[in-house]
């Protein structure tokens, strides 16, 4: 039946790039933390070497993630209302507390992990030694009991951090999943899909960051780090397999759901095809999976870097496709809604990405990143002492 709309009111897409990028950051924070907690919490020895790199990345990403939300608020000066007025039926209200508890827990966890290294390096006059003395808050006890306490407390707060990491990213899935108005969001799979794609992108970014840290802190990638990266790449392969399976399940059920669901699925295949099929699932999921299927590729650093970069781009596309694409289909009226990113939003996204990089690089530069369990490089003086 031909229908011509003679008059209809323009509506606007209100949740844009900032919200998508916020989901992206919390996802990578949760992903990288859960991956590196394999060492401290789950006792897989080889991951202990990299847990410091992972926890700093998780903390910094999570510190910058909510800033995107703050800049997206129409009334940022009233952000405190989020703490003063709680609405238990709102997923966003749950998130406010998770976004505070999770980084606090990670900070305590990181402090216990770094404490002994602070003590070892606190004597001196430089900036670093001064910083370590400040960060120790006077807790310089290096007795065996104190060291055991560090391990115990790190394990405790790390273990607490795992469910918090799952919740801090899982809740963002509920933010979209609870909205029944939009068929493309309204699925119980949403929190799980968000978590699995978070594991994929978190692992991808972690591999790249780990390589950079090793390169700049120690000058080269040791053989044990190389073999660990091959292990992580193998894990990433499985994360992609699960994430891909979830996406396929999600898509099939969307296709066979309500009229709005079918239209959304059809729109993903046709309207947003280059981004959904091309970027998100082709370049971002299928290609890295094909690369990582080969054992030789997993052991080759350039191949793993390419696969990691692709997953990072693919998951960003996924967040944008879901958040913004989910609002393109009209709820009333007669045409799809157009979204154009504003210069304001783009500036903030780029600015915050740069700030995240700078802060993270600064922390990696000044904090003692020596690896627990790795061979300690002895200084020449120490070598002499050992020889005597």
């Amino acid at each position: 039946m031909t229908t011509v709309h003679l008059f209809d009111t323009n509506h606007q897409i209100y949740w844009g790039l900032l919200i998508a990028v916020y989901f992206y950051y919390t996802g990578m924070s949760a992903g990288s933390f859960i991956l590196t907690s394999l060492g401290t919490v789950f006792g897989i020895e080889k991951y202990k070497k990299v847990s410091k790199v992972g926890v700093l990345m998780a903390i910094v990403l999570l510190a910058f993630a909510p800033l995107h939300l703050l800049f997206d608020l129409e009334q940022p000066g009233r952000a405190l209302n989020l703490f003063l007025h709680v609405n238990p039926t709102s997923a966003m209200s749950w998130g406010v507390y998770l976004l505070v508890l999770y980084p606090v827990c990670l900070l305590i966890y990181a402090w216990f992990m770094f404490r002994q290294d602070f003590v070892n390096n606190m004597n001196g006059t430089g900036f670093k030694a001064g910083l370590y003395r400040f960060l120790l808050f006077g807790k310089t006890d290096m007795s065996t009991a104190a060291k055991e306490n560090d391990t115990k407390k790190a394990k405790f707060f790390g273990t607490l951090g795992v469910p918090l990491a799952l919740a801090v990213h899982g809740y963002t899935g509920f933010i979209l999943g609870n909205v029944q108005a939009r068929a493309i969001w309204h699925t119980p799979l949403m929190p799980i899909i968000f978590l699995m794609s978070a594991m994929v992108s978190g692992t991808g970014l972690f591999i790249i960051v780990l390589m950079l840290v090793e390169k700049f802190k120690f000058g080269k990638l040791d053989a044990d780090i190389k073999s660990l990266i091959a292990d992580i790449a193998n894990l990433m392969k499985w994360f992609i397999v699960i994430d891909g399976a979830l996406m396929i399940i999600y898509f099939i059920v969307l296709w066979y759901s309500s009229e709005a669901g079918y239209a959304a699925a059809y729109y993903l295949l046709h309207g947003d095809a280059w981004s959904f099929l091309g970027l998100e699932n082709g370049l971002g999921m299928l290609l890295p999976l094909l690369i990582l299927l080969s054992k030789n590729a997993r052991q080759s650093i350039p191949a793993v870097v390419v696969a990691s970069l692709l997953t990072i781009i693919g998951v960003l596309a996924m967040r944008i496709n879901l958040v913004i694409g989910g609002q393109e289909l009209p709820l009333t009226g007669s045409k799809t809604l157009e979204y154009a990113v504003s210069g304001h939003d783009l500036t903030i996204v780029i600015g915050l990405a740069l700030a995240t990089t700078v802060v993270l690089s600064f922390l990696y530069a000044v904090l003692p990143m020596n690896r627990p369990g790795a061979v300690v490089k002895l200084t020449s003086q120490a070598v002499k002492e050992v020889a005597q």
Binding site: M1, T2, T3, V4, H5, L6, F7, D8, T9, N10, H11, Q12, Y14, W15, L69, D72, L73, E74, Q75, P76, R78, A79, N81, L82, L84, H85, V86, N87, T89, S90, A91, M92, S93, G95, V96, I175, N178, V179, Q180, A181, R182, S258, E259, A260, Y262, A263, Y266, Y267, H270, G271, Q327, L329, P330, L331, T332, G333, S334, K335, T336
Partner: protein
């Protein structure tokens, strides 16, 4: 039993003059480019078999409003009489309510910088008047009143006429009832819009 406000819009009487849309803008000082109340107008069929449909839209002041459930600061609240209102001094402008409303009823007021929507002209109700859109309707198509009062016009219309609501499946339990609404106006023809119609 207390009051339960609702609106019945009798589309057999609506002529599509858009006076309600204008009156709302004027009464509530709604800025340019955004609407609390608007009239969709469409034409279906092929000459000589054609018909023209109108659908005035406004906040449905639902029994179970999605916007109220998702507001992270409880800025959206519901009165005993069913009216859903926004505390403009508390709203932080996160826009979750706008994303969650199935009816596109909400928007950001570009001047006040908070979410905004139809209030049933709350201040007019308190003064014993009808909402501006109802007051101005030239044909009496818009009827407003208390559903719990058996002598009210809305009660009588709901009791005697076949009515329809927009998107009943969302569990919002909307309280704007239409008489004679065309289904093509009540919801967007998504398959037509995305091109998926066989």
């Amino acid at each position: 039993m207390g009051k339960r406000y609702a609106m019945v819009i009798d589309l057999r009487k609506c002529v599509g003059c858009h006076a309600c849309q204008v009156a709302c803008k004027s009464e509530n000082n709604v800025p340019l480019g955004v609407f609390r109340n608007w009239v969709d107008e469409l034409e279906t069929g092929k000459f000589p078999n054609v018909s023209r449909h109108r659908l005035p839209r406004l906040c449905n002041h639902s029994e179970n409003p999605s916007c109220l459930n998702v507001c992270p600061v409880k800025a959206t609240y519901q009165l005993e009489d069913g009216t859903v209102l926004i505390d403009y001094d508390r709203c932080i402008g996160c826009k979750y309510c706008i994303a969650a409303c199935p009816y596109d009823a909400r928007f950001i007021n570009p001047v006040r910088k908070t979410a905004e929507k139809c209030t049933y002209c709350h201040e007019r109700l308190e003064a014993g008047l009808q909402p501006a859109c109802v007051n101005t309707c030239i044909s009496g198509a818009r009827v407003f009143g208390d559903l719990n009062d058996p002598t009210s016009e809305v009660f009588k219309l709901l009791a005697t006429q076949p009515v329809n609501v927009s998107k009943p499946e969302t569990n919002n339990r909307p309280q704007t009832y239409y008489i004679g609404a065309d289904q093509k106006a009540l919801r967007p023809n998504l398959l037509d819009i995305v091109g998926g119609e066989k």
